[in-house]
């Protein structure tokens, strides 16, 4: 899966917006949205929120977790724990990117939030890398990681799976030759 696909899946998440128009409920395949009343918040999927924002038809309300204090606490928690902690949303990275790109003026302290989310991401990727390292060195056959998000998984997946295949090939070649020399 490439990052664009993951972002596409992330756009299904619900987010609150305040529209400036009034409209009845919209019936879509993925579910019903609305009704829209000007000035009242309503939950819509992220893709629709971004589309409305670009057409100047709404104001986006940032999700609860997108707040400097909560993110500071999360970052501290992530630093203290040896394993992965639970993230406020399974698509926190994609949502942050999308919102900060199109709705920068609706989000207070946007710069700080961007830095904090990047820090959390870096911490988790570093943990992922060291965990893969340990896994390979210990020659284990399986490993289990909790609370890993889809985006992080996809940074490792292509390379890891190919690398493990190659290692298996090399190992089987090596053990084959040892067996043949022993015989």
């Amino acid at each position: 899966m490439d990052p664009a696909e993951v972002e596409f899946l992330a756009e299904k998440e619900e987010i609150s917006v305040v529209p400036n128009f009034t409209q009845d409920k919209i019936y879509l395949i993925g579910g019903d949205v609305g009704p829209f009343n000007a000035g009242l918040p309503v939950k819509v999927p992220l893709w629709m929120a971004i589309n409305l924002k670009q057409g100047q038809k709404c104001r986006i309300i940032p999700p609860d977790w997108m707040d400097t204090e909560r993110l500071q606490d999360k970052k501290q928690e992530e630093t203290d724990s040896k394993f992965f902690t639970e993230m406020p949303s399974p698509h926190f990275m994609e949502i942050t990117q999308l919102l900060l790109k199109c709705a920068t003026d609706d989000i207070p302290h946007a710069d700080e939030i961007r830095t904090l989310v990047k820090d959390i991401w870096d911490l988790r990727i570093a943990k992922l890398r060291s965990s893969i390292d340990t896994f390979l060195k210990s020659d284990a056959t399986h490993a289990k990681l909790n609370y890993l998000t889809l985006m992080e998984l996809n940074t490792a997946r292509p390379f890891l799976t190919k690398a493990l295949d190659q290692m298996h090939l090399l190992r089987s070649n090596l053990s084959g030759r040892i067996q043949s020399t022993q015989e």
Binding site: N20, Q54, Q56, D105
Partner: protein, 564 residues
């Protein structure tokens, strides 16, 4: 016909239709076009944009692109042309004219069906009455009578008196009409900027953003920088925009609500009238700004000494003044405005010469730009003399520059603007040194000799306009002739060497600066007709025209006798 409500009369009509947009070649038109593009993108309206340099191109562009299009929008072009007559559209086509050129052709004003004017009706207080210009004609009856006269000689005697009365009335009415039309079309001026009108449309639809405010600011500043509107009108428009700026930019100061540094922040302030001073050295900037250069007379030795004295008195070390502005000491940089205002009266400068209320924009940590710099950079790209680029390429690059993200192209454009300004000042210096600004009785005139360096810059109308104004101010400041301030100026620049054409521009005298009414449009036309000169009145600005260089002398003789 004027549209009262821009939203209902104009925007709702084009909401789900295809539109054709014809845009003139100036920065105000570009800004209006960008605002309109933004609105179209919000509402997913299909559009085609075609840049046009003159009336011929307008017709050509219309003919090429009008298939299936029922709504045509003119931005800063088309007001002075009877569009229905010239373009011969079908019955169902609607024209929307958003043009700051005045006067608007009377046919455009009174056509209630096909032509809608996107302008502020309050500005039109001298419109002639409908009845004095148009009436149901009995003229066919008269000519019919004349041809039948041989057969109806008996009855004719009785109708004779009535017919004579009618013909006399008609003749009087026609003469009156000609007089009214002449007075109405005599002076060409400019109304509210097209970008400001488009911005107000966006505002009424609650789709205005800080970016659109900045575009409107640039459009209004362009009108002032190219001496199209008088200072008072500019200040009125700037005040109107200031309220919008305040509305969009009041956040960001209180602790809870700090917005990202990457958002555009516009600031309203009194700005120094020094050309491009943030991107140049202070000394160069003073020498290249119209007001200050002329007050100090920097092309003379004495003027240079006075300028040095002025800088020394303000406490600015000369070496720093000649360096790039951004590398001056920060205390000097911050206090420059205050220092100039403190010391200016001794050197004959007034507050009006030095500062003007204006806007500056900031986004990111690096980019701070003031509106006039932005206009000059944009105009420099639009009138790029690079032979490899066609006019449309220049138009598209200029549109790109208005997009904030292209910082690199903006820097290149500022360099181009510097070159243009330097060319202007060098040319003015040549004019004054060689006494080439000659008084011809009712006006002053000057010609740029072919083969001068950088003469290619002046084959473009906006640059030529700035040159003309600079020349007039410089000449008035050195001339001993008391009447110099009341004389207008006609300037000619070689346009195309192979075809032997010259670009001629006429600007009003400095004394009438409060109104900036230009009468050269009509004067040029009449002089051309009376001498049979080969001229082309193609530009949307009536006071700029092209002519064959050979016809120059007889044309000017005619002009002199006309204006005497």
């Amino acid at each position: 016909m004027f549209i009262k409500d821009l939203r209902k009369g104009f925007y709702d009509e084009i909401l789900h239709q295809r539109v054709l947009v014809l845009v003139a070649f100036d920065v105000d038109a570009l800004c209006a076009c960008k605002i309109l593009q933004y609105l179209f993108q919000c509402d997913q309206i299909l559009y085609t944009i075609v840049p046009v340099t003159g009336k011929e191109e307008l017709e050509k562009a219309y003919v090429e692109n009008s298939e299936g299009v029922k709504h045509v929008i003119f931005i800063n072009c088309g007001a002075s042309v009877d569009v229905v007559e010239t373009l011969q559209p079908e019955e169902s086509v609607r024209f929307y004219i958003c043009d700051s050129h005045r006067p608007v052709d009377v046919h455009n004003v009174f056509n209630a069906v096909q032509v809608k004017l996107l302008m502020k009706e309050e500005e039109f207080d001298e419109l002639p009455e409908y009845d004095s210009l148009f009436r149901d004609d009995d003229s066919d009856d008269d000519s019919g009578n004349d041809s039948d006269s041989s057969e109806r000689s008996g009855k004719r005697k009785r109708f004779d008196d009535e017919a004579i009365e009618k013909r006399r009335d008609k003749r009087i009415w026609n003469e009156n009409r000609q007089k009214i039309l002449f007075e109405y079309n005599q002076f060409s001026t400019y109304g509210t900027a097209a970008s400001l009108i488009m911005f107000e449309l966006a505002w009424k639809m609650s789709k205005d953003t800080n970016d659109l405010v900045w575009l409107a600011v640039v459009g209004v500043t362009d009108q002032y920088i190219h001496f199209k509107t008088p200072r008072d009108k500019y200040i009125d428009d700037a005040m109107a925009l200031e309220s919008h700026v305040a509305r969009h930019n009041h956040r960001g100061d209180d602790e809870d609500n700090i917005i990202s540094i990457n958002c555009l922040k516009i600031v309203f302030d009194e700005e120094l009238q020094l050309t491009l001073y943030r991107h140049w050295s202070l000394f160069d900037s003073i020498c290249h700004s119209v007001n200050l250069a002329c007050k100090f007379k920097v092309w003379t030795l004495k003027g240079q000494k006075r300028l040095h004295e002025f800088l020394a008195e303000m406490g600015m070390p000369l070496s720093q003044c000649k360096q790039k502005f951004s590398s001056m000491e920060s205390t000097l940089r911050h206090n420059i405005k205050q220092m100039i205002q403190d010391h200016m009266t001794k050197y004959g400068l007034t507050n009006q010469d030095v500062v003007i209320p204006s806007f500056s924009a900031q986004y990111g940590y690096k980019n701070k730009l003031c509106a006039s710099d932005y206009v000059l950079a944009c105009v420099a790209t639009l009138e790029n003399i690079d032979k490899n680029k066609s006019a449309t390429d220049n138009f598209l690059s200029a549109l790109d520059i208005l997009q904030r993200v292209n910082v690199a192209s903006l820097e290149k454009a500022v360099e181009l603007a510097k070159k243009q300004t330097q060319a202007i000042v060098t040319q003015v210096q040549t004019f004054l040194d060689m006494h080439q600004v000659i008084s011809a009785g009712p006006f002053l005139y000057a010609f740029i000799q072919e083969g001068t360096m950088d003469v290619k810059f002046f084959s473009k109308p906006q640059c030529l306009m700035r040159l003309a104004r600079f020349t007039l101010e410089a000449h008035c400041s050195v001339s001993r002739n008391k009447r110099a301030r009341s004389l207008p100026l006609v300037l000619g620049a070689p346009l195309d060497g192979e075809q032997g054409t010259t670009l001629v521009i006429g600007i009003p005298p400095l004394q009438l600066d409060d109104e900036r009414k230009n009468f050269f449009g009509k004067a040029f036309e009449q002089a051309a007709v009376s001498t049979n000169s080969r001229t082309l009145h193609d530009s949307f600005d009536s006071y700029i025209m092209e002519m064959k260089t050979e016809d120059r002398s007889k044309f000017f003789d005619a002009l002199i006798s006309l204006l005497n």
